[in-house]
């Protein structure tokens, strides 16, 4: 057992979300769900984070930001795409500014679909991500072939 599963710190980035999923992510921190029970902290600093939560699809404006945050996170790290926009691009996929889901630019480990994703689903996704984080820590992780990641 590694300690990384006992204290996963999160960095949350709002890609081009409508704020629906963001509010559900923040709802996880409230007394109702209180993810600090599991040692989860929303750090807001990629260098302290283990889990990268992204909401919203990737567009030409935020593609560099997402890549930058991903690169700045120290290994081992996992990426969780929250909501259907982050997972696939949803119906924004064909917009003139959209590149699609988050997995078009960085590897995504867990997809949490939903519009908006429920806090329970987000917590479930983060717990799935902890398993992957543990495997990455022990170097036993094998990236799945397409479609990538675990689908909840």
């Amino acid at each position: 057992m590694s300690f990384i599963t006992k204290s996963p710190w999160i960095v949350h980035y709002d890609g081009s979300s409508c704020n629906g999923c963001d509010i559900e992510v923040l709802a996880c921190l409230t007394p109702m769900y209180d993810v600090e029970r599991f040692g989860i902290i929303n750090t807001g600093n990629p260098k302290h984070a283990d889990i990268f939560l992204i909401t919203g699809y990737v567009n030409t404006q935020n593609v560099d930001v997402i890549k930058n945050i991903y690169r700045k996170m120290p290994d081992p790290k996992v990426v969780v795409a929250i909501g259907i926009c982050a997972s696939t691009g949803n119906f924004f996929r064909e917009c003139y500014n959209a590149l699609g889901g988050v997995d078009t630019i960085i590897p995504v480990d867990v997809y949490v679909p939903g519009c908006a994703a429920r806090p329970e689903a987000i917590i479930d996704g983060v717990v799935k991500a902890l398993g992957i984080l543990d495997q990455k820590k022990n170097k036993t992780y094998v990236a799945p072939v397409k479609p990538e990641g675990v689908i909840i």
């Binding site: 300690f3 409230t30 007394p31 600090e36 029970r37 040692g39 750090t43 260098k47 700045k72 120290p74």
Partner: protein, 289 residues
Amino acid sequence: MKLLLAALAFVILTPVVCGLLAGFDRIITAKMQGRYGPPLLQPFFDVLKLFEKENLMVNQFYHSFYLICYLVFMVASGILFFTGQDLLLVIFAFTLADIFLVLAAYSTNSPFSFIGAERELLLMMSAEPMLLIAAVGLFMATKSFKVGSIASVADLNTILLLPGVFIGLLFILTIKLRKSPFDLSTSHHAHQEIVKGVTTEFAGPSLALVEIAHWYETAIMLGIIYLFFAGNPVIAVSVVLVAYFVEILIDNTFARFKWELTLKSSWAVTFIFGGLNLIVLFIIEKVKI
């Protein structure tokens, strides 16, 4: 031999005790906010996890060198304190340790770290005068700068002679424990943006060093509070615990101050409570003679 054992006990026990204290802190904070809160051992999990992470460094040499100096001087300052050496030396080593944290933050060349480092310097400017006044006050009350002899001489009379100094010290305790409203340079809580300040660029093991050094820092500050009541350990320990609880309460009820207000309020408290107390002590001594 006895001193060596005391030093060894300090080095080993402090992370355990202060880590548990931080765990209680987080649980009490969560209860105050109506949450369930993390497990008691969470601070240890955090630090052990940070050691498992990759150490991303912007500036290979200075980064780790300064951070290790920060930890070493903080431990050295604590050893001097808990083996009963000179209180002034303790405070100078304590300040030097903080300076190394500021240098480490500056060496990362990040604008967020720069702001954090500047704010850390400001907080030091706010807190250090009161620490020195506390040392001078303890000297005037007990006729010694040695922590050992202060602890053996201190009784109820000490706190009666130094009420203002003690209030001032409690005020800057908030700064030194990095509690709101004075968590300008960095914060325990999951705040965003520049509030992570000095620690912004420290990842993995580097951040763990900062966290462990902060436990030693907490031990030294609480030790100085203890010193005022050292004659009666039961009262002293309860005063320390009550002080820590009040800090948690303040942390949860105050919004962050701007730096101007931080500096002005802490200097005002320092000179009104600390300074006046020293003047009164001085007059009392003159009258006695």
